[in-house]
Structure formats: structure tokens, C-alpha cells
């Protein structure tokens, strides 16, 4: 009961979005996946397009519920997690 899957909305931007082929999706994440870095590893194993998007996790930035987070940040309690390349606005 304490090891239920976690429901999440994922969003992708820029070339992460292009490589995965969609702007967002709803996923159920296994209980063993507890951090942003682990979520990227889990996603990378979901198929070729994900493997391509996350081939170099060091360059991917993440946000939980619209705030920047680090790879080691826990995902518990997150509603929406976004992945994107370094920002180039301004």
C-alpha cells in the first residue's frame, strides 16, 4: 500500500519535446523512482525517442510545479514535472 505508483504530468520543451515527439503526457511512475535523476533514467528506458532525449542527462534541466529543481530533488508530492534544455531567452 505504501509502494503505490505515483501519477504525474510530464511536460517537455524545445528539443526535449521534439525528440520525445509530444509536449506533455500523464505517466505512472514506479515507487522505486524517487528523484528527478531517477525519473530521467526511468524515462530514458521507455523507448528510442526517450533514450535520445535523455542521452545526456547532465544538460537537461527540470522544474517541479513550475520551479527549477536539481537532479537530486525528491519528486514526492509533485503534480507536474517539466524537462527542457538550458534556457536561451532574454
Amino acid at each position: 500500500m505504501g509502494r503505490n505508483k505515483m501519477k504525474l504530468k510530464l511536460r517537455y520543451f524545445a528539443w526535449v519535446r521534439e525528440r520525445i515527439g509530444k509536449p506533455d503526457e500523464d505517466v505512472e511512475v514506479p515507487a522505486g523512482v524517487t528523484t528527478v535523476a531517477e525519473l530521467m533514467t526511468w524515462l530514458a528506458a521507455r523507448g528510442e525517442e526517450y533514450a535520445h532525449a535523455f542521452e545526456n542527462p547532465k544538460v537537461i534541466r527540470a522544474a517541479i510545479d513550475r520551479a527549477h529543481v536539481k537532479p537530486q530533488t525528491a519528486i514526492a508530492g509533485a503534480g507536474e514535472i517539466a524537462f527542457f534544455p538550458p534556457m536561451t531567452g532574454g
Binding site: F13, P86, M87, T88, G89
Partner: protein, 162 residues
């Protein structure tokens, strides 16, 4: 003293001068106005471009900019701050974004505008894609932008700039 702040994310063009005038109108304590306007150049690293397309993360873009505007207001005595950032397709020569900072004294206005630009470049969730004759490519982030943003990390939060 409250600081007037405006943050807008839009596809429409903006008028930097009108935004600056809107902050200072009717105030007698404004002594210094700094504006920064970012313009779409006609080339990217020497290669001509046809257009620029800006993607953003709606909701987070506003929140992130507002958070940095609030930090600027905490750091410097500001009368008003306006930040407008466009998204969508932008042609060479067109404005991309602007920052206006107004203060009683110039040091605060300059520092706050410079600070906001460094943070917008590295933290605001916007991504530029340029269209060249041989296709579209995503603009790569520059290490110099991270270094520039790093300049502001060291001092304590409540430093006085004047």
C-alpha cells in the same frame, strides 16, 4: 513605499518608451530610468537567419520573472520595474524583450536592470530556435551567460547599492 511592477509574456510587439513613461508618470521621486531592449539580430554566429521562434513554459515563465523582479526590489530601492518578453515568431530587427527599471538614483536602476537581464537569460524558461537557409536549429546556451548570472550570487540579499 510600494514598487510598481509589471510582468507580461505576449506575442504582440511592445513599446519600451511607453512602458518607461507609464512608470514615471505623475511621480516626482523618479530620477533615473534604465531600459534594456533585446532585438532579434539578422545573424546567429555570422550565419544569416530568416526568423527566430521563441518557445516558453506558460505559467512558469511569469512566475520565474516575477520572482526575480521581487528579488531585485529587495536588493535595490526601486520605484518601478517592468519586464515584457515576447514568444512566437520574431523577425530580424524586431524587439524580443525589454526591462525597465526606475529609481531615485542611477546606481540602483543600472544594477537592477543588469541583474534582471542576467537572470532572465539563464533562468526564465524560454528557448530560441533560429531558422537558417539550411533548416531550424535551437540556440545553445552560453557559458558566459551563466558566469554573468553568477556575479550576483555572492553578496548578501539585503545589500545596499547606493
Amino acid at each position: 513605499m510600494t514598487t510598481q511592477t509589471i510582468v507580461r509574456i505576449q506575442t504582440e510587439p511592445f513599446d519600451t518608451a511607453a512602458e518607461a513613461a507609464a512608470i514615471t508618470r505623475g511621480r516626482t521621486d523618479a530620477g533615473a530610468v534604465v531600459t534594456f531592449t533585446g532585438i532579434c539580430r539578422g545573424d546567429e554566429n555570422g550565419v544569416p537567419i530568416a526568423s527566430l521562434t521563441l518557445e516558453h513554459y506558460p505559467g512558469m515563465a511569469e512566475a520565474e520573472i516575477e520572482r526575480h523582479v521581487a528579488e531585485a526590489i529587495e536588493r535595490w530601492p526601486l520605484i518601478g520595474v517592468t519586464v515584457i518578453h515576447r514568444f512566437g515568431r520574431i523577425l530580424p530587427g524586431d524587439d524580443i524583450m525589454m526591462v525597465v527599471t526606475v529609481s531615485s538614483h542611477r546606481a540602483a536602476a543600472f544594477a537592477a536592470a543588469d541583474f534582471l537581464m542576467d537572470y532572465l537569460k539563464t533562468r526564465a524558461p524560454f528557448w530560441k530556435q533560429v531558422e537558417k537557409t539550411d533548416g531550424k536549429i535551437w540556440v545553445e546556451a552560453k557559458a558566459t551567460d551563466d558566469e554573468a548570472a553568477g556575479r550576483w550570487a555572492a553578496p548578501a540579499k539585503h545589500q545596499a547599492a547606493e
